[in-house]
Symmetry: C2
Subunit: 314 residues, 2 copies
Amino acid sequence: MTLRILFSAPPDFWADYAEVLPEALAAQGLQADLAPVGTADWAPETVDYLVFAPSGPISDFSVYTNAKAVLSLWAGVETVVGNPTLTQPLCRMVDVGIAEGMMQWVVAHVLRHHVGLDAHVVNPGHLWKPTHPPLTHERPIGVLGLGELGQVCAKALAGLGFPVSGWSRNARDVPGIDCQSGPEGLETVLRRSEILVLLLPKTPETENILDARRLALMPEGAVIVNPGRGALIDDAALIATLDSGRIGHATLDVFRTEPLPQDHPFWAHPRVTVTPHVAATTRPATASKVIAENIRRNESGEPLLYRVDRAAGY
Amino acid sequence: MTLRILFSAPPDFWADYAEVLPEALAAQGLQADLAPVGTADWAPETVDYLVFAPSGPISDFSVYTNAKAVLSLWAGVETVVGNPTLTQPLCRMVDVGIAEGMMQWVVAHVLRHHVGLDAHVVNPGHLWKPTHPPLTHERPIGVLGLGELGQVCAKALAGLGFPVSGWSRNARDVPGIDCQSGPEGLETVLRRSEILVLLLPKTPETENILDARRLALMPEGAVIVNPGRGALIDDAALIATLDSGRIGHATLDVFRTEPLPQDHPFWAHPRVTVTPHVAATTRPATASKVIAENIRRNESGEPLLYRVDRAAGY
């Protein structure tokens, strides 16, 4: 039996997957036809799987009555998880490309702030002014969110000698990381983190989790690094505390509106660095392997990997 | 018997060591009098050890006829190793503060170049232009010099997933690092390194080791990171290859003359980042422990640690 796999993503995605996804399916021993939406004359009820990106053509899943799973190309699923027409199992993407890309972006920016690189990268006065930052073991770092990405980043930072505290809603145990959970644990992490990395999913509970009250708990001059979701931070509260200098800097990769509008105050703020949602991106070759493995598992009766818990929202 | 330890360093060093060095000596069970040059009425032949920084008052060691060792506060000893009056054993400083400081500076700058941070740190046009760098495992790094500092940096980079090649004059074996040696090994490392870190000592053999011919072996657009010694690079050859764009960038922490003169072309070159000799610095608390341990070892008949080989120059 040949599986029918419908590819629903923005038009420019197809070129990246047209070769590597069929290869990955074949490598798993799967017989499959793969087609972008609109190119195959398939009745919706004959589709077995959907490979899905939120900005693609499909938003009504109800016609795919026999689809066995919707496999997201993105790690974040908040724009699709609440879709009432989506009754099929939904799986997030967990791609080594995403994790490694996130890790290198996070470690780069944490070290940049830790060592004070900007003073040398931008030095128009040609000042020779040696200063010595603390050592990694003297700089407490916090990571909010201990999912796959949070754990990879926390472990990489701890591996360089930083003392790392991590926070998650439910208690976790990550070797080498001081793990905190619950509302009190969050305050503990905020009070001690000189550099704070946000890697929480966007859910109703995490929206504006970093508000004025919680920002005020952080050490004087602390730095915020947000490659998670824009909505985790109360933007106005962040700008107020950056204006006052209480928070020393914010490096932000994600925003409530993307691209970040040109009139947004983040662009011109001297204590903000904007990066254009580049911290992590799905890499087609490795993502295709994840999708193919998940289809093979499901066809063999094994549980799907990275299946989204609708109640939790991630 | 109370040891006499003479402290010869620039005047501002003493304040950093006046408390922590006696504490470290006491912690090793040593009875010792410690005095900066000029403050104690000691006949030179009664001095047991010298704690030494090159820019301090002593340059003639011949009068310290009974001194058992000269213990450098600096990792680099090239300004003293050739001193003909120095016949006593000489030890380099190998301080965890130096190693950890060097590691964090090197990893920060390698990741900065790898991820392409500067485009976001300096973005006056507020451009939203996502680009995705390679992943760490796709970026070959070279480390010239596999002494203590080279090994610490090479291992930290390998730990983040970079493929790391290391080069040393004599063959070494460092787990996780592709180790090369000899003149052919040097060419192998240069040909494959997209980012090259220089951590060689300055010796007659390493002076100008990165000359026009060797720079030309490197991949198009490669980046040079030099926290080692200024004299390792032929400055004029480097500027020529940066002008042509063959070498993409150089981040330099050390120079033939320091502070780097204001009229030096490195300052204004768009492909050069100057940092003011901050990559690594001796930390008094940990350096004092190294000195105290070495004196205790020597007094107990154990071999001195980090003793300099005069013939090799390091």
